[in-house]
Subunit: 333 residues, 4 copies
Amino acid sequence: MKIGLIGAGWIGEEHVKRLAGRVTGAEVVAVSDIDPERAAAAAAIAGARVVDTAERLIADPGVEAVVVTSWAPVHAEQVLACIAAGKPVFCEKPLTTEAADGLRILDAEQARGERLVQVGFMRRYDAGYRQMKAVLDAGGVGVPLMVHCAHRNPTQPESYHSDKPMVDTAVHEIDVLRWLLGEEFATVQVVVPRSTSQRFPHLVDPQILLLETASGARVDVEVFVNCRYGYDIQCEIVGETGTVRLPDPAAPLVRSEGRASYAVVQDFPSRFADAFDTELQEWVDSLRSGVPAGPSAWDGYAATVVANAAVEARRTGGVVAVDLPGRPAFYQE
Amino acid sequence: MKIGLIGAGWIGEEHVKRLAGRVTGAEVVAVSDIDPERAAAAAAIAGARVVDTAERLIADPGVEAVVVTSWAPVHAEQVLACIAAGKPVFCEKPLTTEAADGLRILDAEQARGERLVQVGFMRRYDAGYRQMKAVLDAGGVGVPLMVHCAHRNPTQPESYHSDKPMVDTAVHEIDVLRWLLGEEFATVQVVVPRSTSQRFPHLVDPQILLLETASGARVDVEVFVNCRYGYDIQCEIVGETGTVRLPDPAAPLVRSEGRASYAVVQDFPSRFADAFDTELQEWVDSLRSGVPAGPSAWDGYAATVVANAAVEARRTGGVVAVDLPGRPAFYQE
Amino acid sequence: MKIGLIGAGWIGEEHVKRLAGRVTGAEVVAVSDIDPERAAAAAAIAGARVVDTAERLIADPGVEAVVVTSWAPVHAEQVLACIAAGKPVFCEKPLTTEAADGLRILDAEQARGERLVQVGFMRRYDAGYRQMKAVLDAGGVGVPLMVHCAHRNPTQPESYHSDKPMVDTAVHEIDVLRWLLGEEFATVQVVVPRSTSQRFPHLVDPQILLLETASGARVDVEVFVNCRYGYDIQCEIVGETGTVRLPDPAAPLVRSEGRASYAVVQDFPSRFADAFDTELQEWVDSLRSGVPAGPSAWDGYAATVVANAAVEARRTGGVVAVDLPGRPAFYQE
Amino acid sequence: MKIGLIGAGWIGEEHVKRLAGRVTGAEVVAVSDIDPERAAAAAAIAGARVVDTAERLIADPGVEAVVVTSWAPVHAEQVLACIAAGKPVFCEKPLTTEAADGLRILDAEQARGERLVQVGFMRRYDAGYRQMKAVLDAGGVGVPLMVHCAHRNPTQPESYHSDKPMVDTAVHEIDVLRWLLGEEFATVQVVVPRSTSQRFPHLVDPQILLLETASGARVDVEVFVNCRYGYDIQCEIVGETGTVRLPDPAAPLVRSEGRASYAVVQDFPSRFADAFDTELQEWVDSLRSGVPAGPSAWDGYAATVVANAAVEARRTGGVVAVDLPGRPAFYQE
């Protein structure tokens, strides 16, 4: 599969390395970026060509599928161009920043009549979440009633502002819980604890996202992006007969100096390295059968609607209804 | 220390056994109960006398201190009588069912001018919570910002109604978190998930209690009293630099039939057996120095006010302010 | 039960405190020690009399039962005197240092015709070991084939010499495994790793004790008394269908500074505090029914024989047969 | 890298799938097997040619590197042929069954003057062992003094005989411990517990391998190939200041029906799936720089010498010296 990649920033370069060095059945043949030097650097990793614009890359007859890792506000136009060109596109999250753009993508893809879009929610490919889903699907804990999550980063740069805990960070939980629970969210509330002193003063951190699903299951997600001690993802699902908890990454227990301890992972690229690899490998594999099997444009749209509702909920302090239309039959699973 | 015990139901009989068999420095000399047979059975365990009314037991010159394990609605009058008699009284939780009665006790005790009342919140005596408090007090996780708790029972009888998750069950978390965090609660909200099908139909279960402290720390307490799988108490405190989690009770890990597993405790008397013993031992020990050192009448009053606010919050669906006056200097620690 | 205690060193004083403050149904009425000041200090804790010799204490009509916590080489004579006086005696381990003295005690007790002796192997009273025994006895892991143990101390004083890892330290595993497995040991071997540099130069540390039971089960016990990091007791029993592992003491998991950790206990009095309490409480309780139910003189004798064989095995480097006669019917359980 | 594979049995077919589907930078172009149908089936997976003999495959100019997954007794001749042809060869363990054949390989490779041989000890590529090595190399537990291992399989077929616990099973520990500890083994002893009843009657199972390194560190390896409950690999290294333990594979903790449990892996292909992938990927990557970086012919030879000594030790019941010559400079790391 000949891949063109748009957007050679950090995640773009990571995906080039991944596709070139760890994913089989694909090669990166073209790279574009608004910064030609950055495009050249990423292209060099894979021995790919530099193409000067996203439009030309998408139109390039030598490009069979596209990876979009550009700046989020331009995702929508690039994905729409891929759909127009009839080319499969893997778009990093978020699919769009505005829900209205997501609707345009849904319309375009349905009009085209074939599934072309996959969104980069890599947690669905994490072994721990997959094991949890297997337990749930086997009825191991009964019908889910509650989920308790925590999403903790050691720190964030000054540019990280108070909407980001929802749109950049908790959006991962929003997606993976939609997938685990198999239903949509209906309402959103955000509870705001006293902020930590270990942060830039403009930032509201931590924030606690409260979600209600269509069936009435309740989710709480602690989002704490300056927790200092590590990158830590926790998730416990409570069902009618039991609970299942996401495992910590396996790490050796060391007994030394009066304590038994194991290392906590320090960043998300380490925590989800295998998930990222699996995500792209399965995407490439799925293209052979013609249809991407991962998170769809609908999933990307729904996540944006919920995350945006969460931002509104924090700003207003109230409970916000998630304004999501019915899932089109085209996107039923 | 010669103890008189009022109320020979299940917990009363347990405390008689405890005082007779595992606590040193005390003996149960008198028992009263509205049911004379039950009184006689409990008295027989300790070789104690049966006294026909609570009033006479409290007045009995051979009784130096009183344990109140009667029906909750009569706690207030019995505790007031003990104060009037100048006798130390250990009252099982709740101190009172109505906040107004708690105020009467506070007034009476302050008028008397000496601390006589201790309330039976045994979790403060649990080794796990004490270890957590030591970590907190040593600054091991920084200033607390959030607490995540779960209080799960395998099942409850039909008489257990929808206010009880707050007034009987979460009240333990309310007390122990006041103690751990060292501050009062300011607001209460209750989130209600879809109820489990594994319950009597009249019961709203689970319920999630959201608390806000005076300083803005946020607490969530999952109360799930028909979780089927066991009696399970979880508590994680998230501070500015780290987190600390209540340990599960130590249990052997068994590898067998494809799984590595350990037993989950099935009831609160097993889970908190040592805490109950320690609670009464330390109470008896403290009486030698004249002042009970455990949860005070103020603690009992505050817990009732918060639990009652939680009931109101569930019924109204809104955020309820905790209507707690300033802590009298008499009760400062 | 009126108790006389002989030997007011560290463990003697601990037992006085325990009997005075945490064990019900007993009081220490008399204390003797070769050092009168030490005797007086211990006696003061319990409000007991000082008696000038062990002989007089044993003969004292006000003493109903005796606790022997004296220097190990005089245990035998003191225990024999108790038997001669027909008084129950709790003797700290080791029952005797020489196996021949153990045989004299067995003969005397059998001649007396009643069980009077209990030996202070407290691990049988530890909740973790008891839970393991319950799993074993319920067939939870099948017939035991192997046991892997570790007995680690942070450090030892200069007086601790190279026989002590077997006679003072591993002797606890020897006893508790006899009890867990329900059979005697047949052979002993000691494997000697390179010694740690973190010790006094005269000491051989660590040492690994290899035991074979009568039925052919195999046990390895790492004895490492200068492991630096803590006091750590590990035990895993491997049966025909599964394994069971002694739990670490429950301790809060703290996530901080890049690691998730829990504290390791630093000394045996902390690790086995509850076991010591339970041991003496059950001993006192058992005396009411007339017969001590804990480790018998036979258990004390067998442990000494095995530990002494282990010393010989280390010195000779070979496999040493455990020279144990058949268990007399008097000591069958 | 164009790969030819010899021996299309189970592990051969697994490696074809791996090289075709998960390893980048390599393709399987030729397969041979003594059973032409089996060769054809494996070749079909990768779209490779079938070559009728190992000799022709090795000589094939279209084959740049060889994977040997044939029957162990023919490994030596095939590896020697690869060396003679100057082609890199990845040989599944054991490199040879007879130590003398290993010496021939060492001589041939040294005579050739370049490193061509890598042996399939995949544990060195397991994330857990690598994390342990990182801890050791950073001085996290001090100088290693002891290692405790267990290697458990749920069951084995009737063809598995009593030498196999050492030559097929414990050989993995022999290799990975040589790598972790960075030194050779000097002596071997095997302790034989009573055999489990859950096995074919001819088999001696379990067996405990005791090893001594050149510096005097001591290793015990429980090998129990009919443990029933799962495939379980345990390893704890005890150093002068602490211990480090191989983690169990990460798995969700499920609380249900009175127990908290996680699944135990059931077979080695699941347990070491990632290690196998990494092993071949790193081998392919290393060939670009010309020199395989994994376990060398020396490592394969040393493992065979130690495993064969362990067989002798079990048969004789004594301590057997490991008869290993000095490591040639050619194989120094």
